[in-house]
């Protein structure tokens, strides 16, 4: 069973590598950010399968932390792309 989990972790790591290729090629900034999200998702999967392969449940905590914080980058990116002058709409709600 351990070998199977290692194989799964390996396969997920390869998908992360493919996502990195997309991040490198782009072409647009949004493609890169989405690729970063895909890397994040892949890394969560690797952490989970590695935890299963090693029989170490604390690795699930690392996967959980990665899951919680994965949305940060994309939220910050959306914030940074907002058109200027529209700020007042958002201001009343903050």
């Amino acid at each position: 069973m351990t070998g199977l989990f290692y194989a799964a972790a390996m396969a997920l790591l390869v998908t992360v590598a493919l996502a990195l290729v997309r991040a490198w090629k782009g072409p647009g900034t949004i493609d890169r950010i989405m690729a970063a999200q895909l890397v994040g998702t892949g890394v969560i999967g690797v952490a989970l399968t590695l935890g299963a392969a090693r029989g170490d449940a604390t690795m699930l905590d690392a996967a959980l932390v990665a899951t919680l914080l994965a949305a940060l980058a994309v939220a910050a990116f959306v914030a940074s792309r907002a058109p200027r002058g529209a700020r007042k709409d958002g201001e009343d709600r903050s």
């Binding site: 990195l20 590695l50 905590d61 932390v65 914030a79 940074s80 709600r93």
Partner: protein, 318 residues
Amino acid sequence: MSLVFDLVLCLMILGTAAASLLMRSALGGIVFFIAFGNLLGIAWLSLGAVNVALAEIAIGAGVTGILLILAHARLSAMGDPVECEPTSPWMRAAVAVICGGLIVLLSVAVLSISPTDRMGAQIATLMPALGIENPVTGVLLAFRAYDTLLETFVLLGALVAVWAIAPPRGWPQRPASLAIATPVSLTVIGTFSRVLLPASLVMAAYLVWTGSDLPGGAFQGGTVLAGGILVAALGGAIALPRADDMRLRSVLVLGPAMFLGIGLGGIALGRFLSYPVGLEKALIVAIEYALALSIGATLALLVAGKPVPPAAVQEGGD
């Protein structure tokens, strides 16, 4: 299988590090920096250092990523092209020498640790006296508590430094609002953050609690807390506080002050930063919770940046 996994991981870490340096577009470099942090987290997991992996994923991939993206956005808003200018050969040579020297020093330091180092065993024999089982927490909060105490004050000092560059009219107002300007995106992220903030509060509390026996602790918990606060601020669910808000200031100093207070209390028992027998775990957990709150608030405010005049809040941060 494990060896192949580690080798592929090493190659990917080196690749992402190179890509984040060589990328022409600054945002592309940031994307690779975030991926680098995530992969480094996996490397620490693979080495069995879950404590470090948690910190690397939370700080390296999470909070530093958002800091860089917001810094990029603010520089662009100020008219800075955020492009890498051609570097002179002398500069390149100087950087190569400094980085090469650092690598040599680090290698010497790492290789000087003998494989038969007894430090782990020594700590293991001391741990039962503390009543906790995570040796990393034991080192941070008991055996090397002095270092940790100073680190918490350094973090506080960093925030004071950020506040010190506030423009005269900006002090002591709020930092530039992080809330997203586009109404649709604000609704999406706002709704999402109202789910994420409670989840991150629970996760932060859990990480601190579990940190006494399993990987986790105040820094990891505090960073998760900061992440939740930042998403909530981006989604407009919470407003960032004024710099002179007494509640905010008490939260900021709570952790370091409590750590220092309990440490000073130790003098009465014979030594600075020693814990009374029987109360070690209770005091360590209390310090960790207070520290996590302070670290979370400090990190979130470090990312939010300096206080700005209210008028500038209208344009700032976009």
